[in-house]
Symmetry: C2
Subunit: 285 residues, 2 copies
């Protein structure tokens, strides 16, 4: 019998589910991945995976990072539910409660991006930096903001990917892809927005394409707003779009240009290479 | 000798200073107001006002709400200083330390807008609402955000008045008045921006003027960004521009229109009249 402390992890995405037993950031003891289908089928498979570890008392808690929108208010009657989502079958599903009742262990429940932010704060690039911001730019755009080591929960789950930013329609006539807000940040700069605008996935758009300067400006505009509003000590940019690493220097340069000296912090003005960074855990966060 | 607990308050604005001794939000025991001149002269007058109350042990703490930008990091060597400001003579002035050394009392030091936010949270419109946001729209635009009853301090003092928002130049060709960012929120919607654009102070622009719809949209855009990023449970709008009370319904309507149903909170969707409100303490906060 092992004496290493083990953790149960459940990363519930809109496309796939990853259930894992780990003893640290790089030590995966066991892991399964499967497609997200109906809630009944999907949650049943997750429960089956964890059951033996619970029965053998190898784990007594499971952390769930779930796609949203979520009810994260512990005082709410629908705490731990996925709320209204465009994804068929998944509106008003009690993800947390279902696992809790079947497995009878402590369940940590948060949004996928908050869990990624916490992973980076515990083991990765934002370790020791409080408050910190983790932003994922991929299929959607979402932010996890940690203060005093905890994710900020206010009136509602943060949806900072949907903020309004300047959109120069002469330079970029694209209408925007957000079904709610057209040309909000996500509607202009997410993976699907890039694909809809250019007709091809961003993965194959060459680094020399002038579009990337426009993309970098959108991301820099949003970062400027987050810096002035949330004042994070570290900003991590993850997600599929940020796999194009040449974007980092473009974004950093543009953030400095937009702020125009209006912050007196050396972390920003002189060490921006260490201020806006990729995830320390790669795809593991 | 009075047994009522008294508080020392020092509101240090760029134009005038108010020093007061109070026993509560509406109970001003004594108060003086004078113009902000040089740091030496101004701080000396404040110290002279408080000295007798300290000597008689009537107060043992003073709260200072100061104009910025400020160093609010207690671990910093220049904590309590005004940092780089365009206001002549006031860059790198040790406001907190000067009063601390001369009066030898506990000094609470924060930005003017954070102190206003705290006043509203203690006695006013945001009492019981955590997190909460206080926004002042006047000579400048500034925000105070309280979480767990304290103002958010991260890397730097929040400067959320300078966020980037959409600017439709066909509808509003005004270039913007911010010396750092041209058409940031403050550059588009502050009192001086209104006056520079219209040639007259906003105080005398009639309610029927079409400009107020543009103004309301700028404010609503910024509020949408703050809601999605900070998730406050109450938003208070103060400052000179918000004295034009007809702006409130315009702003609330526009916030709902921009969010377009994208938040699942009844506080926002159904009770916006109670969500975005004027200060409970009027000019006292």
């Amino acid at each position: 019998m092992t004496t290493t402390k083990l953790y149960g992890g459940n990363e519930a995405g809109g496309k796939k589910i990853v259930c894992s037993i780990t003893s640290g950031p790089d030590q995966i003891v066991q892991e399964i991945r499967f497609s997200t289908t109906t809630p009944e089928d999907t949650l049943r498979r997750a429960i089956q995976f964890f059951e033996p570890f619970v029965a053998n008392r190898q784990i007594n808690s499971i952390g769930i990072g779930c796609f949203g929108p979520l009810d994260l208010n512990p005082k709410s009657a629908t705490y731990g539910f996925i709320t209204a989502t465009p994804k068929p079958h998944w509106s008003n599903v009690d993800v947390r409660g279902t696992l809790q009742r079947k497995l009878n262990v402590t369940i940590g429940f948060d949004s996928d991006v908050n869990v990624a932010a916490l992973g980076e704060y515990t083991w990765g690039a934002s370790r020791g930096y409080d408050p910190s911001l983790y932003l994922t730019i991929g299929t959607g755009i979402g932010g996890g903001y940690l203060i005093n080591g905890k994710s900020l929960i206010g009136l509602l789950n943060l949806e900072m990917g949907h903020i309004r930013i300047p959109h120069n329609r002469e330079l970029d006539p694209f209408h925007g892809s957000c079904p709610f807000h057209d040309d909000c940040f996500e509607g202009l700069a997410s993976g699907p927005a890039i694909e809809k605008r250019l007709g091809v996935t961003g993965v194959i758009v060459p680094e020399s394409d002038a579009f990337w300067d426009i993309e970098a400006e959108y991301i820099a505009s949003a970062l400027m707003n987050y810096i002035l509003t949330l004042s994070p000590k570290k900003i991590i940019l993850g997600g599929g779009v940020m796999q194009r690493e040449f974007l980092f220097p473009k974004i950093r340069r543009k953030v400095l240009e937009l702020l125009n000296g209006y912050v007196s912090s050396k972390s920003v003005l002189e060490n921006i290479d260490q201020y806006i960074v990729p995830p320390g855990l790669g795809n593991q966060s």
